[in-house]
């Protein structure tokens, strides 16, 4: 076996070990879906950062910077701002009453099973397609590392992900995420000095990169509207995507959340800045790649020595797996808790619930690979939705979630209209709108207009829906 194969084998064994340990730590549904709601700042922050960092960071981001230059990097600043907003404004009210899923929050706040089913449906469809694209990336990595056909690689990755996620639920996801974050950090940390050595250090890099790409440090490579709306997309996606929100329920209390998010911000910024420097190195070392997406694989194979190169590939894999496992939890819970147990078969006994939960993850996890093997959703459609994923989630959930805990007057009908309208407007802009403005802007504005407009013309919510999130209205406070 090659060095690469050994590194990957060791890596998978650690992941399985953690999955096995988590099975024993999972006693009930609260453990299975939100890790008992008792996570500390380190594990909570690590799983946030690992979930945030996907294969997109290691392949897509570096690819965009390779072509578009450094100004794209400034979009990064929207991420800490989004987390800060989430902790300071949203979390204190949102976490007063813990739920197992985000659609369950929607039902509590918006007093209706229908609107919960709607939220679960949007999450389910968007995540299954998103997972599909990540699995394709996994297949390609398996092909490079083990020399097996891409199809087998996709099946293999799905199997590995499903084994530990189905068995250990959120507990397994959290602890494997912490381990995968270490792998990602080490990969980026070791790669940068080695790549810098090839370009005569940082000073050499800064000179050479400007002769290879004269506009690299200017603001002329990307339209300002695109940079700003991309930042908005990252901000809104950071504030209210279900896989991030659910981690607020998983952490013990507000104090833990504040510390955990600080840790997550430091890790996300650190990993991204290291990856940005690698992108500059790629411009100097490989100035004529046909697509920016090849920049990272080129650095991993041609710049780094075999062992480090395989750690870098493992880092890309870790980024992919730690995002997909969190999406499996979100989609699996939408299917088994929000759709099956809530709408179809509410009388499931407590004992059988854990089985229903596991079958839910098994179904949402095998669907993407089954669709791919039967030739559905290969190529364009999947890429299309992946780019849209954050925008769709942001347009569907920011208003119902943030508005729901800040504005008493928000109603069930307003939330439903915001979700449907936001998703529809995002799609519409992607198809017909100007390419220099991200679709999230249109989706968000339509969603906001419908949320406020429809809420104001429909009957005010009952007191029972507001009681968990707002103080009783005895003081002079008005919302």
């Amino acid at each position: 076996m090659t060095t690469q194969a050994w590194v990957f084998l060791g890596y998978f064994l650690v992941v399985f070990g953690i999955g096995w340990y988590s099975l024993r730590a999972t006693r009930d549904e609260t453990d299975y879906w939100i890790a008992g709601g008792e996570l500390g700042w380190f594990t909570g922050g690590a799983t946030m950062a690992a979930t945030h960092t996907s294969a997109g960071t290691f392949v897509g981001t570096i690819g965009v910077m390779y072509t578009a230059g450094w100004s794209f990097g400034w979009v990064l600043l929207s991420i800490p701002l989004a987390y800060w907003f989430m902790v300071a404004v949203l979390a204190p009210r949102f976490t007063r009453q813990k739920e197992l899923t985000i659609p369950a929050f929607i039902e509590t706040r918006y007093y209706g099973k229908g609107v919960r089913g709607l939220a679960a449906g949007i999450i389910l469809i968007a995540t299954v397609v998103y997972i599909q694209a990540q699995i394709v990336a996994g297949g390609l990595i398996a092909n490079t590392v083990f020399g097996i056909p891409t199809t087998w690689g996709m099946v293999g990755f799905t199997a590995i992900l499903l084994v530990y996620t189905v068995v250990g639920g959120m507990v397994a996801v959290v602890y494997t995420d912490a381990f995968q974050l270490v792998v990602m950090g080490l990969g980026a940390l070791f790669a940068v000095p080695l790549a810098l050595r090839q370009v005569d250090g940082l000073g050499g890099l800064l000179t050479l990169v400007q002769s290879a790409h004269p506009l690299v440090f200017t603001w002329e490579t990307m339209p300002a509207t695109l940079l700003l709306t991309m930042g908005l997309s990252f901000f809104l996606g950071g504030v209210a995507t279900p896989e991030k929100l659910i981690r607020l329920y998983a952490m013990k209390d507000m104090r833990t959340i504040r510390r955990g998010v600080l840790f997550a911000i430091v890790m996300i910024l650190g990993i991204n800045l290291l990856v940005f420097v690698l992108a500059l190195c790629a411009i100097v070392l490989f100035p004529a790649l046909s697509t920016g997406d090849l920049a990272m694989p080129m650095v991993a194979t041609a710049v780094l020595p075999a062992t480090l190169g395989s750690i870098m590939l493992a880092a890309i894999t870790a980024a992919m797996m730690s995002t997909v496992d969190s999406l499996l939890i979100v989609a699996g819970s939408a299917l088994s808790v929000d759709i099956y147990q809530n709408l179809i078969h509410p009388e499931v006994s407590l004992r059988r619930r854990m089985w229903v939960d596991r079958i839910g993850i098994l179904i949402v996890g095998s669907t993407p690979v089954a669709l791919l093997l039967s030739g559905v959703g290969e190529g364009d459609l999947v890429q299309f939705i992946v780019l849209l994923f954050t925008a769709l989630m942001a347009a569907a959930f920011v208003l119902p979630v943030v508005g729901g805990v800040l504005w008493r007057r928000a109603t069930r009908e307003g939330a439903a209209a915001a979700m449907i309208g936001g998703v529809a407007a995002t799609f519409a802009w992607e198809v017909w709108g100007a390419p220099t403005v991200e679709p999230v802007l249109c989706g968000f504005l339509v969603s906001a207009a419908l949320f406020v407009g429809v809420s104001l013309v429909t009957p005010a919510p009952p007191a029972s829906a507001l009681e968990p999130y707002f103080e009783a209205r005895t003081t002079s406070e008005s919302a």
């Binding site: 450094w70 600043l77 800490p80 440090f217």
Partner: protein, 33 residues
């Protein structure tokens, strides 16, 4: 070739300032607990 200047170094400084700002806010929020 001119040195990269603000576009390049500014991003690192801005990241550091944001982390420091968040940390200061955290201490301020928990000041009398």
């Amino acid at each position: 070739m001119s040195p990269p200047g603000f576009t390049f170094w500014g991003l690192f400084v801005a990241c550091a300032l944001l982390i420091a700002g968040y940390g200061a806010w955290m201490i301020w929020v928990e000041r009398d607990r």
